[in-house]
């Protein structure tokens, strides 16, 4: 960006001068910008204002126009930063974002690579099917996943785990009968205690969140990565083959670098979305057990709705928006998204 160089300044001045080419750009961008500001920036500004007042109830928020709130400046923020739950929440949220992103990336890559692979018949139809999760309302899907992760023994996931246990035991027995002289103790380690308490255990619940989040977000990433994969120049693969690279090496040295831009782009967007996830923890077990898995927005929501601390919750949201803003800003800086993918 040429901003502070003399040319930059010159350019800026020139661009400010009335000239049809410049004007029309502004005119075209302006409506969208105004609409966006009206409906998004303005509420954010309002939120920031709320966060420095002492409003506690819904009624007060609405009454704020009648000047019923007093300004307490940073009291809410100070209180927030002093709250251990808040820091726990921040930690869990980042962990959640990180782990689910990792899982999403792996899953997305596997799906996308499979569904663009030459050897897969009917891949176009499969690609259409695989993004079906995008069509359901999140609240519904999350409830379904909550049921899948039911801690009851007959919960679908618990059934899966039981089935897995059966397979392990079966295999162990098989090995045992074939090689009877081997004292086989390994299965104990491989077995899982059923039923798993998916909502009662902190990490079990966390696992449930991550799986659900991944399921919700992968279609978006798959669409983008599939599109990117279709654009990888065949010639690069040919060059790598001739250079002696096998499938995995080509994946690592040709495919992945070629789709890196879109992949990073999709990652950043879903990471930012999952940072703000509310419904998953809320529907699963309200960020439980206890408050151990409260993602940031659940924390904020609790403050607002349950404890009637609207100002506090606004402060939390401001912090959340700050985090996302910072995250996006860094991401954009690092990856040059502003110039395209």
């Amino acid at each position: 960006m040429s901003v502070d160089t003399p040319e930059g300044v010159g350019n800026r001045i020139r661009r400010l001068l009335p000239s049809s080419a410049t004007d029309i750009g502004v005119v075209l961008v302006l409506p969208g910008l105004v609409l966006f500001s009206l409906f998004m920036l303005f509420p954010i500004a309002f939120l920031v204002y709320l966060s420095i007042t002492d409003v506690s109830r819904a009624g007060d928020v609405i009454g704020i126009f009648q000047g019923e709130a007093s300004i307490v400046w940073f009291a809410n923020y100070l209180e927030l930063f002093a709250d251990g739950e808040f820091w726990n929440s921040i930690g869990v949220t980042w962990l959640y974002v990180g782990v689910s992103l990792g899982l999403k990336l792996v899953l997305t890559l596997v799906i996308a690579i499979l569904l663009t692979h030459d050897r897969v018949a009917g891949k176009r139809y499969m690609r259409a099917l695989v993004i079906v999760p995008m069509g359901f309302p999140p609240i519904f899907v999350i409830t379904i996943w909550r049921a899948i992760f039911s801690p009851a023994a007959f919960g679908p996931f618990n059934r899966l785990v039981s089935a897995y246990n059966d397979v392990v035991i079966g295999l162990a027995e098989l090995v045992d009968t074939i090689a009877f002289f081997v004292a086989l103790r390994a299965p104990e380690l491989l077995l899982v205690d059923v039923p798993v308490n998916w909502t009662g255990g902190r990490w079990a619940a966390f696992f449930g969140y991550v799986v659900t989040e991944t399921w919700l977000a992968y279609p978006f990433m798959v669409i983008i990565v599939v599109s990117a994969l279709q654009d990888v120049p065949m010639e690069l693969h040919d060059a790598a083959k001739v250079d002696g690279a096998g499938y995995l090496n080509r994946l690592r040295h040709v495919t992945i670098p070629a789709i890196k831009g879109p992949l990073v782009f999709a990652s950043i967007l879903t990471a930012a979305t999952s940072f703000q996830n509310f419904l998953i923890p809320w529907v699963f077990n309200k960020g439980g057990p206890g408050r151990s898995n409260e993602l940031l927005l659940v924390y904020g929501y609790r403050e607002a709705r349950v404890f009637n601390e609207y100002a506090m919750s606004s402060a939390i949201m401001v912090v959340a928006i700050g985090f996302i803003g910072l995250f996006m800003w860094l991401a954009v800086k690092k990856t040059n998204l502003a110039d395209g993918v």
């Binding site: 750009g25 969208g32 509420p43 009917g122 606004s314 954009v332």
Partner: protein, 297 residues
């Protein structure tokens, strides 16, 4: 399909070795397996919608008793007055969202892609920064939002709701479309200008048709944004006659009295249908719209 037939023909003619064909069958098998695994919840939802009773999970067979499958729940949804009303309302909202998003983001994207103007880069940054803020914003500040909107009398209005979604969708979609337009060679546009086309004609005759894949992607994203959202809808709409489908759907979840899951599942499936249709229709366009690759000159 033709891939398979070709493979068989090739195998017969000895042009492909059995090993080669086996490899294809195996990879396809892996893909299908993965797909089945991923779509398990969807399959489950379908069986729930077909089941009798009211519960989602059941200690018996996971998928209920196929012999007892019934379409009652779907019938219930379709005959349900609020479904039909909600559908209409949702269509209104989504039409507004999609139209406004397209109407605002196409020119915006064009300007960002093709024109140099003061603050262009800052705006691009801003847009990307804010692409993801909208969603989370709505949850904790519902009251604030409501206070704002009711203060200026904009509650209970489907147009305003649609506009709100559009506002949230504009940054991301503008940026997406801008990225797409960056890859449309300028020479088409110049050819049209030299041919005597005005700015507007260039837009209509050249840019719009060429940006179709990008526009299709935006359409799908804007559509899902307007269609699936319910929290803001519920906050800004108090008149049950104006509830969009998502709010009606959410209303079926009754914490106190229990939810009738087959009905809920049937409702959700019907709810998801339009999105699925739109996507199937636009799939090819969307996939190339998101490819971020070059367009042939």
């Amino acid at each position: 399909m033709s891939t398979i037939l070709d493979a068989i023909a090739d195998l017969r003619a000895g042009r492909r070795s059995p090993v080669d064909v086996a490899k294809s069958v195996l990879t396809t098998g892996v893909a299908v397996g993965l797909l089945l695994l991923l779509l398990f919840p969807v399959y489950w939802i379908v069986t729930v919608a077909l089941s009798r009773g009211t519960t989602l999970s059941s200690p018996g067979s996971l998928f209920g008793d196929p012999a007892a499958y019934t379409l009652d729940s779907f019938r219930w949804v379709l005959e349900n007055e609020s479904f039909r009303r909600g559908l209409l309302n949702s269509l209104i909202v989504v039409t507004v969202t999609v139209t406004v998003t397209l109407a605002f983001s196409i020119p915006g994207a064009y300007a960002l892609s093709r024109r140099e103007f003061f603050g262009r880069r800052k705006l691009l940054y801003g847009y990307i920064l804010f692409t993801q803020v909208g969603a989370g914003l709505s949850i904790a500040v519902l009251i604030a939002l409501y206070a704002l909107f009711s203060g200026i009398g904009l509650t209970n209005n489907l147009l305003v709701l649609g506009l709100f979604y559009a506002a949230g969708a504009i940054p991301f979609n503008t940026w997406l479309l801008k990225t797409f337009m960056d890859n449309i060679p300028v020479s088409y546009e110049e050819a049209a200008i030299v041919d005597g086309a005005s700015q507007w004609q260039v837009m209509r005759e050249v840019i719009l048709p060429l940006a179709k894949p990008g526009i299709a992607a935006v359409l799908v994203f804007a559509w899902t944004a307007g269609w699936n959202e319910f929290i803001v809808a519920q906050t800004l709409i108090h008149d049950p006659d104006l509830y969009p489908l998502s709010v009606e759907l959410y209303g079926l979840i009754d914490d106190r009295r229990g939810t009738s899951w087959p009905q809920f599942a049937a409702f959700a499936l019907l709810f998801a249908l339009p999105v699925a249709i739109i996507y199937f229709l636009a799939q090819k366009q969307v996939e190339s719209g998101l490819s971020f690759g070059g367009m042939e000159g």
